[in-house]
Symmetry: C2
Subunit: 225 residues, 2 copies
DNA sequence: TCCAGACTGTGACTCATCTGACAACCCGAA
DNA sequence: TTCGGGTTGTCAGATGAGTCACAGTCTGGA
C-alpha cells in the first residue's frame, strides 16, 4: 500500500497517526510517464516531493549540454528539499526513469508541522546530514576511484536499494540505460560499457537490458574499494 | 569581537539575546596551532564546532593514503554537524590550517534549544540545504571541468570569503600550500602548480606564498566556467 | 647566521579515459 | 511483418592529467 510507503518516509517519522494523516491529506498525488520532467534546473518552486512508486532521477546539465545524475530515487525517498529549505531556483532537473507516482507538499503545509513537531525537524536534519555524508563520499570516489570502481559501487548501491535476492544471484532492475548509468558515475557510456562487459566476462554479473544480475557480490565489493 | 563572529553563525540566527547568551555560555572555547588535528575521520564524537578565528580544513583520506579536502572553513562557519545530526563516526578529519579558535557544543546543550526554538531548526535545515547545494556543485565540477577550471573556481570561492580588495587587485590570503589547494580541487600538486603558473603568465593573478592577488577577476571567472 | 625541511617550479614519460565512428541488436508502432 | 529509433558492443586515435625526478627557493629554529 502506498500509505506504508509514505509512513516509511523520514518526513513522517516522529508523527503520531493523527498528525501523519493530516500531513498526508495535504499532499497532492501526481503521476508521470517515463521520460517526463517534473521540474527543471533553474525553475522556481518550493514543493517537496516523496516518491510512492517508480523511480526519479535528479540531474544537472553542464553549459555545453552534457548531463550528470546526482541520484536515483525510489519509493519513500524525498526530493526537492533543497529549494524547500534553502529558497532559490531548483538546482537539478527531476525526470521520471520509469512511470512514477509522487506526492507533493507545499511550504505552507509543512512549516506549521515543523513548528509543532520538533521530532520532524530532527528527522529532516538527520536526513539531510545523511545525504550530505553520501554526497561527500561521491566526491571522494570521483577523486580517488577509476571508472570501473565507480561503476561497481553504483551497482552495489542500486542493488542494496532495488535488488531482489534469488537463487542465481541478486537481481537488480535498475531501469537505467548504460548512458544513464554513465551519467550517474560521471563517465562516458563507452567506458562504462567496457567496465560492465569486463565484470560480466569475469563472471561477477550477468548483463540484461536495464538490469543486471549480480553473481559474485564479494568480488564486486572488493573491486569497488 | 568574537561575539559578533558567533552571532553571525547560522546557529544563532533566530535567537533572541537571552537565548543566544545562554547557548553561548554552554559552548567551550578551544585553541589549536597550525597543523593540529581537532578530530579524525572515524572518531566517535557528536560535538558541533564554530570557528571564531582562523581556518580549519576538513579532509578525507583514501585507503592508499591520498587526501582530499572537502572544505576550508573560516570565522562564523560551523562544522562537525554531520555526526551531530546523523549519529555515527566522523566522516572527515578536521585540521587547523592556521592557528585557530573554535567553540564546541555538545548534543545535550543544543537539543533543548532546537525543541524550544523552531527557528533555529529552520536555520540549520537551511544551512545544510545550502551546503548540499554547494557539494552537488562540486560533484558537477569534478565531472565537467578540467583542472585549471576547478582551480579558478576554488580561487574565486576563497576570494569571495577571504579576499580583501586593494588598488592592485583582490588579495586572497588563503593560507593553503599548493599541495592543499590541489587536494581541495582533487588534482595533483604539479598540475595545479602549472595551472597557477599559466594564470600568472597571462596576467590574471600574481602568486605569493600561501596567497594570491587576483588581477583580472573577469577572465578568471570566465575560465571557471 | 646557517642549515634542514618544507615548499615551489618544470620537464619527460605513461596511461586512463574521452571522442568519434561504426555495426549489431532489440522492441514497439505502423 | 517491417521499419526505425533507441539502445548496446567495439575499435582506433587523441589527450588531459598523473607519476617520477629533479632543481631552485624560502623560512623558522638552533
Amino acid at each position: 500500500m502506498t500509505d506504508d510507503v509514505l509512513r516509511r518516509a523520514p518526513l513522517f517519522s516522529g508523527l503520531d497517526d493523527e498528525a501523519a494523516g493530516a500531513l498526508d491529506a495535504s499532499m497532492t498525488p501526481l503521476t508521470l510517464r517515463r521520460g517526463e520532467v517534473l521540474f527543471n534546473e533553474g525553475d522556481d518552486g518550493n514543493q517537496l516531493y516523496v516518491v510512492t512508486d517508480g523511480k526519479i532521477k535528479l540531474g544537472r546539465t553542464s553549459p555545453d549540454g552534457r548531463e550528470n545524475l546526482l541520484a536515483i530515487l525510489g519509493p519513500s525517498q524525498m526530493f526537492g528539499e533543497l529549494s524547500f529549505f534553502d529558497p532559490g531556483p531548483r538546482s537539478a532537473t527531476a525526470t521520471a526513469v520509469t512511470d512514477v507516482d509522487v506526492r507533493s507538499l507545499g511550504h505552507e503545509a509543512l512549516s506549521p508541522v515543523l513548528r509543532e513537531h520538533p521530532d520532524v525537524a530532527m528527522a529532516l536534519l538527520n536526513q539531510l546530514a545523511g545525504r550530505l555524508r553520501r554526497t561527500n563520499e561521491v566526491v571522494g570516489d570521483l577523486v580517488f576511484s577509476d571508472v570501473p570502481g565507480r561503476v561497481a559501487k553504483a551497482l552495489l548501491d542500486l542493488a542494496s536499494r532495488f535488488g531482489r535476492k534469488a537463487d542465481d544471484g541478486v537481481h537488480v532492475n535498475h531501469d537505467l540505460t548504460q548512458e544513464e548509468l554513465a551519467q550517474l558515475v560521471g563517465a562516458s557510456r563507452e567506458t562504462v560499457n567496457k567496465a560492465l562487459a569486463d565484470f560480466a566476462s569475469r563472471g561477477w554479473l550477468r548483463l540484461e537490458p536495464r538490469s543486471v544480475v549480480i553473481l559474485d557480490l564479494e568480488r564486486l565489493q572488493r573491486r569497488a574499494r
